[in-house]
Symmetry: C2
Subunit: 523 residues, 2 copies
């Protein structure tokens, strides 16, 4: 039944009682709040709207629905069954707005579906979702206590808790939630530079010697983006060699530090990754910390992906030494299942964030306010307005407790071990590296029948490189599941399975494996 197809005159009820159409939207003739008498139409609109959302949520968790209904850009741009993306001068009716909303969801991707494994951020936590709905209803801004008293305090308490979990004494230090891991990593480099060369803030990079940064060749590309953006230059970001599991080789770091010093450059910053994007590798933090201390360099731990493992007594040893870091990136929106966006940058030394970023704008941060203005956070940030990312996380923590996050993480890692054990000796599957994964990343090739007899060589490599993209394309066309692939170094395209979705079970892992076999067998 289409909405609003009856044209009987409006009456006081929200359903038409003159014709058989359910939910006939008579209220479309009225205006929403703040219009006069807008309260009733507003409540009706929101309730109808929530019905669309709850239907979507119900289907998201239903394995008989597709993960996505794929269309090419030109198809969506041409307008699918009346779904017109173009904006116009004149308003649309509220009934059409509701149709637009349903279409938007229809042609999107169900990232909470139990078989969506495409990204580090997956899943749909109901309490987190409720938290985000409340956040947008409160529609405020984190820069001052004045307009976000509760959220500012929640942020402060949650950051302290995270620092305690990292292991800094009595949770001391500082931190802030930022719009994502890339910006959090950017903060770490900015603060490190401010710590060693504070005059760069006023005089620019000309006031510092040639500074070099170090990070793994497997690390996230945001470190490279940051070295370009902040004026270091990507050539001054030195990539470190890794072992076969994608972990930094500490000796390589020390050799490259010495080499840089011999050239007269100043080694300033080392990024150790806790959970690399593709392999899920954890760099050996303690050994790296030893070198950082020896050569007086800032140690940042990018735990955007792996930070969540700190919540698990079973797995947190993989981040041993994290308490020696000067700063840590940790994205609850990845492994902890918090809705997007939720990323924290945590700093061991108090005052640096403020010192680095404060510009003391008098119109925003008045020292003569009636409350303790040390609670205002705006002058620590590179942003001015800052979205409230804390509430959904705080609410999930309340609802799950620390133990709930631990259970979630242990379960995801169990599932990835299950997948690893299932395919490591299975015909047609080949692991990209040996041994049980450190994180939930399981990296593998699927070898179609036609390639199984081929000996290793250029031809096999070329043909294998095309397999994952082909299977992925078919997967998306059929809409049954989604998993990522990519090349890495000299390794041709392989699948990278990641599990952060709380809805996933062993049966979904089984499904994925069988689906890859079904689609790829005869390639």
């Amino acid at each position: 039944i289409m909405y609003g197809q009856c044209d009987h005159p409006p009456d006081s009820s929200s359903s038409c009682n003159q014709c058989p159409i359910k939910h006939c939207f008579l209220f479309i003739f009225a205006d929403l709040l703040p219009a006069k008498n807008g309260e009733e139409p507003t409540m009706q609109f929101l309730l109808e709207f929530v019905e669309i959302l709850t239907n979507y949520i119900r289907k998201t968790f239903d394995r008989s629905t597709k993960v996505l209904d794929f269309h090419h850009p030109h198809q969506l741009l041409e307008g699918m069954e009346g779904f017109n993306l173009e904006l116009s001068d004149q308003p649309e009716s509220l009934e059409q707005i509701l149709v637009d909303c349903r279409d938007t969801l229809k042609y999107g991707v169900r990232t909470g579906h139990p078989r969506f494994f495409n990204q580090l951020s997956t899943g749909l936590d109901i309490v987190g979702l409720a938290g985000e709905w409340l956040t947008s209803t409160a529609n405020t801004n984190m820069f001052t206590y004045e307009i976000a008293p509760v959220f500012v305090l929640m942020e402060q308490l949650t950051l302290k808790k995270m620092r305690e979990i990292i292991g800094w004494p009595v949770g001391e230090g500082d931190g802030i939630f930022s719009p994502g891991g890339a910006i959090s990593n950017m903060y770490s480099v900015m603060i490190a530079r401010y710590k060693f060369f504070p005059e760069v803030k006023t005089k620019g990079m000309a006031a510092a010697p040639r500074l070099v940064l170090f990070t793994s060749e497997h690390s996230h590309y945001s470190i490279k983006k940051t070295s370009a953006a902040l004026g270091f230059g990507t050539e001054n970001l030195i990539l470190l060699n890794t072992d076969e599991r994608g972990r930094v080789i500490p000796a390589d770091l020390e050799a490259k530090v010495i080499e840089a010093k011999q050239k007269g450059y100043v080694p300033m910053f080392v990024n150790a990754t806790a959970g690399t994007t593709v392999y899920g590798a954890f760099d050996p933090i303690n050994e790296i910390a030893d070198i950082c201390e020896k050569y007086n360099m800032w140690l940042h731990v990018d735990g955007a992906w792996g930070g969540g493992l700190l919540m698990s007594r079973k797995h947190r040893h993989k981040l041993n030494g994290v308490e020696r870091a000067n700063s840590v990136t940790w994205n609850p929106h990845k492994m902890m299942g918090v809705p997007l966006q939720c990323s924290a940058i945590l700093v061991r030394e108090r005052g640096l964030l403020q010192g680095c970023n404060s510009m003391c704008a008098g119109y925003l941060f008045q020292p003569d306010k009636q409350y303790d203005v040390t609670y205002d956070t705006g002058d620590k940030a590179i942003q001015c307005g800052r979205h409230v990312d804390i509430f959904k996380f705080w609410l999930m923590w309340k609802a799950k407790g620390t133990v709930g996050f631990e259970q979630h993480i242990d379960k995801c890692l169990d599932l990835s071990a299950y997948l690893y054990n299932k395919i490591k000796n299975r015909e047609g599957f080949e692991m990209v590296f040996n041994g049980e994964p450190q994180h939930t990343n399981v990296c593998f090739w699927y070898i179609p029948l036609s390639l199984r007899g081929l000996s290793d060589g250029e031809e096999r490599r070329e043909r294998l490189h095309k397999v994952a993209p082909k299977i992925k394309a078919m997967m998306m066309e059929s809409g049954t599941t989604m998993v990522g692939y990519q090349p890495q170094g000299d390794k041709v395209n392989f699948f990278r399975m990641v599990i952060s979705n709380p809805a996933a079970t062993r049966s979904d892992i089984d499904f994925l494996v069988e689906e890859i076999e079904r689609l790829g067998h005869d390639l």
Copy 2:
């Protein structure tokens, strides 16, 4: 009535029918999705939760409710009537989660209240709110078409529309939504540097001569933050003098450009503000553009606050010349009433954003995907994951049409003219600058009776400086309304009234004026 106070055994209904307590939460004994049989409790939880939100929305627009219920940080931290902000190891019940949500709203600030004037972002647009609820339900990420097909296309079409409105030929150019105006302004400086000195990306600032940037002394502090962050140094950001209305004096820009060149520095970037934060001033873009062209400098227009006026045929002349800018910041979350966060950086020359920021991460942006990967936006951004900020804006545009935004903007500017005319000759009020405001900013002092006889001098200045903070403190304690204050240059604390709230009417303006008089009369 408190939730969950009855302990009758659960049955299939959501309300207890054994005791007089309404909404007895029997479903708290079950688990939410993705738990087995979680569907019914999930739907019940969300419906109860939405009731909390709709009650809040209803009250937000009700003038008989307070704007806020102020408490000091220590009071909230100690726990108000059982509202405990601390996180714990064990989970809370869902009934307690709902109580926490109501408390969070209770002790917050109603930024959509018709008498909330404290920030550039005010108001609560119902369709925009619905858009944000849908966004968080879809919970996806803007970096690839693959996982955000509809949102990526909406962003593309909306940015094109915005460029057309700016006046770039056939809407050509580029752009991206960023987490806020400060980050958008940061993009503009990065892109300008890449345009003139692309080698900085790889070699760092050492590869460029000493570069200088120019902006008004009244401009937003994010320009200063950016000059520190990107490695220019705040000393290389040269502040321009303004006239008494806060507008840049073009001759001062030219003089300072010449002076910088004489010192051997390279003038690279000029920021013209369209709508300054405090005075709401519009810098004369055409005259500044002439100078930028003459000296080959990048012209950025920071229209974070004033960009919305481009939607109004009556007021867009204030941005005359904006089509000559190389880049424009425009925040729909300010003057256009879109929920936070929604900020765009628009760039006239195509390819620069990509050239400046691309790092070609193979694991994210695979050229061998089955769709046209030019739609992937991630490599243009300094972020990796990027929140979907477009949908709520797109949906509001659909619901209002271009004409709806125009009406909103014209109405807000009419209201500010009403306020200006009401107080310009009113006893006890003194304007900070003469003449009708260019934007909705109305800046004024309130002079208590005890100061009215005093002649201008140090004593009067000192005492007047304390008036606005005192009135503001009383305002917040009584919770009746909120408006900002600040000093500016040599001017002591004054009120800055801004109107972007669609719910505000003349009666609310009257109320504010009378409230200031009531609270401040006897100071």
